[in-house]
Amino acid sequence: MSANAAVQDNKPVVRKDISKFSWTIKEIKKNKVAYAMIAPFFILFFVFTVVPVLLSVVISFTTFNMLEWPKFVGMDNYIRLLLDDEIFLIAIKNTLVFAAITGPLSYLLSMFFAWFINELRPKIRAFVTLIFYAPSIAGNAYLIWTILFSSDQYGLINGLLLDLGIINSPILFFQDKNFIMPLIIVIALWSSLGTSFLTFIAGFQVVDKTLYEAGAVDGIKNRWQELWFITLPTMRPQMMLGAILSITGSFGFGDIISALVGFPSPDYVAHTIMHHLQDFGGMRFELGYSSAIATILFFMMVGANLMVTRLIRKVGT
C-alpha cells in the first residue's frame, strides 16, 4: 500500500518537459479547491497564532503602551530583563525547575500508567483509564486540594496530622515557602495525565500482537524486555506527540499556580515567566517589555520541544 502511494507520488514529479516553477504553478491552479478548503482555517491560524508570534518579536524591540506609536529601543528590553530585573531571574529559575520536573515526570507517569493499564482486561481498563484521566478534565477540581491542605484544623491533612499528634499547630501549606513548590508540583502532576496519557493508552492497544510472538521466539523473556525491545520502538510516533504535549503542558500551569497560592505568590517562590508576563502585560501595560518576556518564553518552549523530539528520534536507531 505504501509502495503504491510512493509510485503515485512520484509520477508527476519526474516530468522533465517543464521547469519546477511552472510545474508548481500548474499544480496550484489544478488544486484550487484544496486551497479553498484550507483557507478558512489557515486565515484564522495566521491572524491568531502566526501574526501574534511575529508581532511579539517585533514589539519586543520597542516601548509600546497601546496609546502612543511604538518607539524603537533596540535590545533595551532584553538588557533590562536579564540584567536589571531580579524578579525575572527568579521567574526563569522557577519556570525551568517546574518544567524540568513536571514535564519529564508527567511524561514518564503517562507512559508507565498507560502500560500498566494496558495489562488489564478491556472492561476494567476503561474504568481505570477514566480514574487516571478524570483529574485533567475535571474543570477547576484542583481547587479541592486547597481544602485537603487547608491551613486550619478542618483541612483533611492538617486534621489528620494534629489528631495523630505529629504536629501541634496546623501547617500553612500554601503560605510556607518550603511547601509551596512541592505541593504545586504534586497537584500539577495529578492533573497532568491528559491527552498525552490517552495517546499512550491508544498507542499500546494498536501494537501489532504478532511482534510479541516473534520476539518470544527470539529470546525475549519478560515484560520489561518486551517493552524496551518491541513496544517502545514501534510506538515512537506516540512517544513524539506525547513528549510535545507534556513539555508544552509543563509550561502552562500558570493559572493553576495563581489559583492555589495567589498572585503574586508569597516571596515569589512560585513566580513563573507566565506570571511575570501577566504582571507587565496585563496590569502595567508595558507591552514592549512584556513582548520581550513572551518572546523569551516562546523560544524556551520551542527549544525544549525540539531538543527532546530530536532525542526521541534517536531511540532505537
Binding site: E27, L44, V53, A138, I147, A202, F251, G252
Partner: protein, 291 residues
C-alpha cells in the same frame, strides 16, 4: 491426551509472570486511589451539612448526606447582579458555536491536507506541528493588539472565532483521515465526477466519525471550562465558570456551596468522556507523529 475431559487450563500470557501481574495491580490500586481521593473528597464535601464541614478531626466521607449545598449554590446564583441564566446561556452559546465552527473548519482543512496533493501542504503541516510546541500565554498580549485592531475586544467574537482554529484538532483529524480514509474510494468518486467538497461531506466525513466526536469533546470541554477571558470586560458576556468563581470567593460560609459548584462543573466533562471513551481512544491511536 490425559487432560481431555478437564476444563481448559488458563495459561499465563506471553512473557507475563504472576508476581509481575500482582505488582502491576498493586501499583495501579495505590496510585488510582491517590488520583481519585481529591475527586471523591469534593463530592463528599458537597454533600456534607455545615456541622460536618467544620468538625475535628475532619472526615473524608460524609455521615448525614444533604443536598442543601446545591440548594445554597442555586440561591447564591439568584443574588448576582446579572441574572445567572445569562451566564449559563453565554457558556452554552460559546461552547456550541465554537465547537461547530471548530469541527467544520478543521475537518475541511484536514481533508484537503491529507487527501489532496497540493504544493505547500507539508510546509503548512510543519507549521501546525510547531504550533503544538507553545501555548497561548505567548500570544496573549499581541493577540490583544490584533483583536483591538479588528474591533473584536469585548465582543462574543473574541471567544468564538479563536476557538475555530485549534491546531491540535486539525492535527488529530488529519492523522486520522490519512490512515482511515482509503485513497481508492476517493479516487473512484473523483472519476465519477464528484467535486472535492461533495466527497469530503458525503464520503470522508462519515468514515471518520470517531475523530469528529473526539474533536467535539475536546473543543467543547475547552470552551465549557473557560473562566475569565482577558478579551472580555462586560459582565453580561462572561461565562458560568467565571461567575461561579466570583460568587464562591465569599469565604468560609460558602465552602459547602463551593464544593457543590466544583461537583457541578466536573461532572459534565467526566460523563461525556465515559460515553465517548472508545471513540476518543480510537482517534488517539492514529495520532502519533511520524518523522
Amino acid at each position: 491426551m490425559a487432560s481431555y475431559n478437564k476444563p481448559a487450563k488458563r495459561y499465563r500470557a506471553l512473557n507475563r509472570s504472576l508476581g509481575g501481574d500482582i505488582g502491576v495491580y498493586i501499583v495501579l490500586a495505590i496510585i488510582g486511589t491517590i488520583m481519585v481521593i481529591p475527586l471523591v473528597y469534593a463530592i463528599a464535601q458537597s454533600l456534607k451539612p455545615l456541622d460536618e464541614l467544620f468538625i475535628f478531626p475532619p472526615r473524608l466521607f460524609v455521615v448525614n448526606p444533604t443536598h442543601k449545598n446545591f440548594g445554597d449554590l442555586f440561591r447564591l446564583m439568584g443574588t448576582s447582579w446579572v441574572p445567572f441564566s445569562r451566564y449559563i446561556f453565554n457558556t452554552l452559546f460559546y461552547s456550541v458555536t465554537g465547537t461547530i465552527g471548530n469541527v467544520l473548519l478543521s475537518s475541511m482543512a484536514a481533508y484537503a491536507m491529507s487527501k489532496i496533493k497540493f504544493p505547500g501542504r507539508s510546509f503548512l503541516f510543519q507549521m501546525i506541528v510547531y504550533s503544538l510546541m507553545f501555548n497561548a500565554t505567548v500570544t496573549g498580549i499581541t493577540n490583544f493588539i490584533t483583536m483591538s485592531a479588528l474591533g473584536m475586544v469585548d465582543t462574543i467574537f473574541a471567544i468564538i472565532i479563536p476557538a475555530w482554529c485549534t491546531t491540535f484538532g486539525l492535527y488529530l483529524m488529519k492523522q486520522f483521515m490519512e490512515s482511515s480514509v482509503p485513497d481508492e474510494v476517493l479516487e473512484s468518486a473523483r472519476l465519477e465526477g464528484a467535486g472535492e467538497f461533495r466527497i469530503f461531506i458525503k464520503i470522508a466525513m462519515p468514515m471518520v466519525k470517531p475523530a469528529w466526536i473526539t474533536l467535539i469533546i475536546f473543543a467543547f470541554n475547552g470552551l465549557w471550562n473557560q473562566g475569565a477571558n482577558m478579551f472580555i470586560y462586560s459582565e453580561q458576556l462572561k461565562t458560568f465558570n467565571y461567575a461561579i468563581g466570583q460568587i464562591l470567593a465569599g469565604g468560609i460560609a460558602r465552602s459547602g456551596a463551593a464544593a457543590a459548584s466544583t461537583v457541578v462543573t466536573m461532572i459534565v466533562p467526566i460523563i461525556v468522556f465515559i460515553i465517548t471513551q472508545s471513540n476518543i481512544i480510537q482517534t488517539m491511536s492514529t495520532s502519533g507523529m511520524k518523522d
